[in-house]
Amino acid sequence: MIRSLSRLTPVLATLAVFLAGFIACSLVYPNFASLRVVMNLLTDNAFLAIVAVGMTFVIISGGIDLSVGSVIGFTTVFLALAIERWGVPPLMAFVLILVICAAFGAAMGAIIQYFELPAFIVTLAGMFLARGVSFLLSTESIPITADLYAHLSEHAFRFEGGSRLTVPAMIMIAVVLAGMVLLHLTRFGANVYALGGSRQATALMGINVARTTVLIYTLSSVLAGLAGIVFSLYTSSGYSLSAVGVELDAIAAVVIGGTLLSGGYGFIFGSFLGVMIQGLIQTYISFDGMLSSWWAKIATGLLLFAFIAFQQFTLHLARRSRRAPAGVHP
């Protein structure tokens, strides 16, 4: 039991780091410790967290998906065009884009699987492709004026002091929970972990590795599409340059959350915390506001370092304290 609990240590360490960071920020800025800041964290990072959930599956399986940022960009452009220019009803457009994304992800997964190519490069090509196609669709930013959008962006649980739990945040929370169930409680989830532990062993155990791989990339792309929908709700527009570099943010969040980039270990909740830590760093920097743009970057880097070093240290302590005395093996 102790050994199985110990697998949670990285997540607990990340949680501790996040809380410590939040408290530290609140001590510096009195306005910080407010429900509003927390709700903003949730809303502003909703699309990132949704992508990070998909990315967690991919990374745990030993892969990587660099295409997600571009898929978000593509999704927003597609939605804007479909709704504004082609007159597709918004809900219909959502379904359509998710199907397109699923096909896109499945294609990448199939190429990775059947041609035995590195995921990094296949999804990099996917990243070029998705962004390139959105340029072809439109290089202009297109506002989405559909009623549904206005309605959804108005819709929110409102709390005291003007803070709101918005639709994007609610979708994100649902995705995180569903991701946790899928990863931790289903056969598919176990197969994902097994793939990351040893691809070859998984095949030898009689798991359909090809199907699992294709499904994983499909899932990641579908979630990226969903994140794109959320992003378009968030900005009520479609723009081919939106969400550039989000793949790196998502990967960083997943890894900060305690998932091993080499696969096999990790938790959805950890990735969620990773997203929140990144959001926290940004919020801190914008609260400070006195940093010139370069100092802001340096500070972001240093804070990232501080968080990771602290996390490493916490893990180290946790491991040390768990070591039993001689002769009594856990």
């Binding site: 199985s4 176990a190 097994a194 998984t202 093996h329």
Partner: protein, 559 residues
């Protein structure tokens, strides 16, 4: 109660001594018959070979890898309710035949019938669906998943699509209990030793097997008790009419349980016969294509040896939570053996000695000088060498060639800036390939493509190439065939005669006593007995191992 790595009797026909084991009823008969008569007895007992219908029939299996022929028109038949030994030297093609059968390796030619119906599985998944469950030679489970998940991966009990964790754990416990294993099944697989991982792999396959069960060297890392448990399970399956293919290098086990033997040599079918028709000597000749040199005899009497200088001495070396502090002296020309149960701390002991794990107390003296050993590098600088137990994860670098793997340690000791010339490397590789008979004798082949036993030999070569003063070997003969086994034991003796100090961990006690000058017995991560001279005998070691432990539960697992 303690699980024991009992002496084998596995290879020399010695009687296995049993230790009291509260939780498990003593197996029927405390004595086992000598191998030959046992085989004779088995041959007369049902099911009579030949009477049963063919379950699995392979015809003309061929496979070559980039010009190298691993299988050449091999035929093989397995009958209903038969346990069929598949034997051969390292690299003979046993594992390849198995992988070709299950579709993991695409065969070049050959047809295969199960119950008279032609099948051609193209992946392990299809093989399992066709009713063929397999334990491959290298443990092939997901190291990061829990034991329970590994047992039920792909077939977990579910409700509404969700895995019923509780139910799965319950079943996992029940399944492992059949194998006398009571471990934390929620812990990740990799936290257990290879031996336990192997049992888990077997349990998974047994639980899956519908028609055919294939076991590729399942017993390599098991001790006698576990082997016995496995055999009991195999007999049950056999009674249910399941056909079992069994690969091993322990001939006693063949005679103890198998009905029929098929021997491969250099990828060809060398012969196939009921056990009764193939006495041990004939079998060995069939496998090797020659007589076995009489190398496994007893070594000269212990008294004859004068105490020599200490190469290394450790005082109070230990680490909290890892190994209780111990004293250990290693002398030139002496072999110190470490004996104990699974998880008794033998591997831990040698890792401390080699600095692979940093000790937190104690002192070391090497060649009379005070020394600190904080890392393998420091240990190597002092003339130590360490051939680890877990070949796949800690030994080989799979994609490097045999040559590169062999020179790796020597090169590391010389430092990056003093590279061995290609000529020197070729010479070293050629020398050890010849000396240890590594097959195929191609130094430029990625080592990952060699058979398991040949990888083990190349690792041994890696350390021999550094000509160490102290060589530490952890289970050096695991997975090695009869012929090579004898060679390696001879090699250990020769090294010893040349004045090298050796520290050897081995689970095969009667092999250990043939070369050890001193045996240290471990229990629960502590050194509990030291046997020297005439005391180095299997019964004495067993007695020391068996001494009722002071605390209630033994480490790692309890029965």
């Amino acid at each position: 109660m303690a699980l024991l790595k009992t002496p084998s009797g596995r290879r020399c026909g010695l009687l296995p001594q049993r230790l009291p084991r509260a939780s498990r009823p003593p197996p029927a008969g405390s004595r086992r018959l000598p191998a030959a008569s046992e085989a004779a007895m088995l041959a007369t007992s049902p099911p009579a070979a030949g009477a049963a219908p063919d379950l699995l029939a392979l015809i003309g299996f061929s496979k070559s890898f980039a010009g190298f022929t691993a299988l050449d028109r091999v035929d093989f038949t397995l009958k209903v309710g038969e346990i069929h030994a598949l034997l051969g030297e390292n690299g003979a093609g046993k594992s390849t035949l198995i992988k070709a059968m299950t579709g993991v390796v695409a065969r070049d030619a050959g047809t295969m019938r199960l119950d008279g119906i032609e099948i051609a599985p193209r992946s392990a998944e299809e093989a399992v669906r066709a009713g063929i469950a397999t334990v491959y030679q290298e443990v092939n489970l997901a190291p990061n998943l829990s034991v329970a998940q590994n047992l039920f991966l792909g077939r977990q009990p579910t409700r509404f699509g969700l895995v019923r964790e509780g139910e799965m754990r319950r079943r996992a416990r029940a399944l492992l209990a059949e194998f006398g294993l009571s471990i934390d099944i929620a812990a990740p697989l990799e936290s257990y030793s290879v031996a336990i991982q192997h049992i888990i792999a077997i349990a998974r396959a047994v639980d899956q097997s519908a028609r055919v069960l294939i076991l590729d060297e399942p017993t390599a890392s098991l001790d006698a008790q576990e082997v016995e448990v496995l055999f009991a399970v195999m007999r049950q399956l056999k009674a249910r009419g399941i056909g079992i293919v069994f690969v091993t290098h322990f001939l006693d086990q063949v005679y103890a349980i198998c009905d029929r033997i098929t021997v491969l040599r250099n990828g060809r079918l060398a012969g196939s016969a009921p056990v009764a028709d193939l006495p041990r000597l004939d079998l060995v000749r069939l496998m090797l294509g020659r007589e076995l040199s009489a190398a496994t005899g007893r070594r000269p009497p212990h008294e004859a040896r004068a105490p020599s200088t200490a190469v290394a001495a450790f005082r109070g070396l230990g680490k909290t939570g890892y190994v209780v502090p111990f004293d250990l002296t290693l002398r030139a020309g002496h072999v110190v053996g470490l004996a104990g149960l699974l998880g008794s701390g033998r591997t831990e002991t040698v890792r401390l000695v080699f600095g692979a794990e940093r000790a937190d107390c104690g002192a070391a003296q090497v060649a009379g000088q005070k020394a600190s050993i904080g890392s393998p590098r420091e240990a190597m600088a002092l003339g130590f060498g360490y051939c680890p137990e877990e070949r796949k994860t800690e030994g080989i670098v799979a994609e490097l060639t045999v040559r590169e793997n062999i020179v790796l340690a020597l090169q590391a000791r010389r430092g990056a800036l003093a590279p061995l010339s290609r000529r020197e490397q070729d010479a070293i590789a050629a020398k050890f390939i010849r000396l240890l008979d590594i097959r195929p004798p191609d130094p430029e082949r990625p080592i990952g493509l060699l058979s398991g036993g040949n990888q083990q030999k190349a690792l041994l070569a890696r350390w021999l190439a550094t000509a160490p003063q102290l060589l530490i070997l952890d289970e050096p003969t695991r997975g090695i065939d009869v012929g090579a086994h004898a060679e390696i034991i001879k090699l250990i003796r020769d090294l010893c005669a040349e004045g090298m100090a050796l520290l050897v961990v081995s689970s095969e006690l009667d092999e250990l006593v043939t070369y050890a000058d001193e045996v240290i017995v471990l229990r629960e991560r502590a050194h509990v007995a030291r046997l020297t001279g005439a005391q180095v005998e299997v019964p004495a070691i067993l007695a020391a191992i068996a001494e009722v432990p002071s605390s209630a539960s033994p480490p790692v697992r309890a029965a």
